[in-house]
């Protein structure tokens, strides 16, 4: 299978990545904010939890540390959605798709199977990110940019875990 073919209208990852580096510099200079994302999911969990069991949310120490409220990072994560939507719609690359191509080639086009695995993957990934103290944005981008040892260690093990899991999932190739 040919994964590597150049997609129409795609920017070079070196150019787009380098420009993202400039966005990070401007963000730190202007707002004092490094990139990060996983704390937003803690705040979201707290917000949703307040509907189902407000007393429980108030009891939990972790939601006191990370209060269920909107902040810079929450809007940053929302902004990523909007920026991507804008880019996709204006370049004709928006595609409503519930089963990724590579997944479909191996496991078929059942969106329920893909959904269940994605959901479980999300639970495990976020639990791990909170335990690690960040995700590929907070530890990966922000940590390594600052030459933090924690960022580099976490990033290496993100890949170790990811490589192990994709080996298991795609054991024996695509077919």
């Amino acid at each position: 299978m040919e994964v590597n073919r150049k997609e129409e209208g795609a920017w070079s990852p070196y150019v787009a990545g380098g420009l993202s580096g400039l966005v990070i510099i401007v963000s730190v200079l202007s707002a004092g904010k490094f990139f990060g994302a996983s704390t937003t999911f803690v705040r979201s969990a707290g917000m949703l939890g307040k509907y189902f069991g407000p007393e429980r949310v108030e009891q939990l120490e972790y939601f006191i540390r990370y209060l269920p409220r909107f902040d810079w990072q929450f809007l940053f994560v929302v902004g990523i959605f909007l920026g991507s939507l804008l880019s996709a719609l204006t370049s004709d690359s928006f595609k409503w798709q519930g089963v990724p191509d590579m997944w479909a080639e191996r496991f078929g086009t059942n969106p329920a199977l893909r959904g269940i695995v994605a959901f479980i993957g999300g639970i495990v990934a976020m639990f791990g990110a909170r335990l690690a103290g960040g995700c590929p944005s907070g530890h990966g981008l922000s940590g390594i940019i600052q030459l933090a040892a924690s960022g580099l260690i976490a990033m290496v093990f993100f890949f170790v875990g990811g490589i192990i899991m994709t080996r298991l999932v795609y054991h024996g190739g695509n077919r």
Partner: protein
């Protein structure tokens, strides 16, 4: 919405725009990197890192930025890191970028977003137990690579950037 939140929204929109332009948010690209088939996401990420690294440390010398990084806690960084990776290999999206995947119509990311909210809630529930048993083990404090090696940070930056550029050249040679 306060000023800080507006900054967050605008910064996120720029980042999301660039992520989509380079096609790095989708499952196929993320998993292809983990399967060593297509290194687009690594090229994107490392380009952002080397530009950011030079810029941030340059402005820091003049006191214009304040560094804000996390301490090394080996049990957390390694244990959590592997756990994140295992979940990432199943989901094929990252916490920050999966909103971008949804933005270009990849709606299976909704399941990932939902799972991540549940995962964060689960973490909050188990946090008291984790504090007792796992968190804080092998806490080595706030460490940077230059401190660890004991050299000037610009030497580390030069070596890092050179290494990454060499890796890029190797990717291109191998057609990754």
């Amino acid at each position: 919405m306060n000023a800080e939140m507006i900054y967050g929204l605008i910064t996120g929109m720029f980042f999301g725009f660039l992520l989509q332009k380079a096609r790095v948010v989708r499952y196929d690209k993320q998993i292809a990197a983990l399967r060593f088939q297509d290194m687009t996401i690594i090229k994107f990420m490392m380009s952002a890192i080397i530009v950011g690294m030079v810029g941030i440390h340059f402005f820091e010398m003049f006191g214009l930025v304040r560094l804000l990084y996390k301490p090394v806690v080996l049990s957390e960084n390694i244990g959590g890191g592997i756990l994140f990776g295992l979940g990432w290999g199943l989901l094929g999206y990252c916490p920050g970028t999966q909103g971008g995947a949804l933005g270009e119509g990849r709606w299976d990311s909704l399941w990932g977003i939902l799972g991540m909210i549940v995962g964060a809630g689960l973490y909050a529930e188990t946090y008291p137990i984790l504090v007792e048993n796992v968190l804080g083990w092998e806490n080595l404090g706030y460490l940077t690579l230059p401190q660890l090696i004991g050299v000037n940070r610009w030497l580390v930056i030069i070596v890092f950037v050179t290494g990454i550029v060499a890796m890029f050249r190797w990717f291109e040679k191998k057609g990754l």
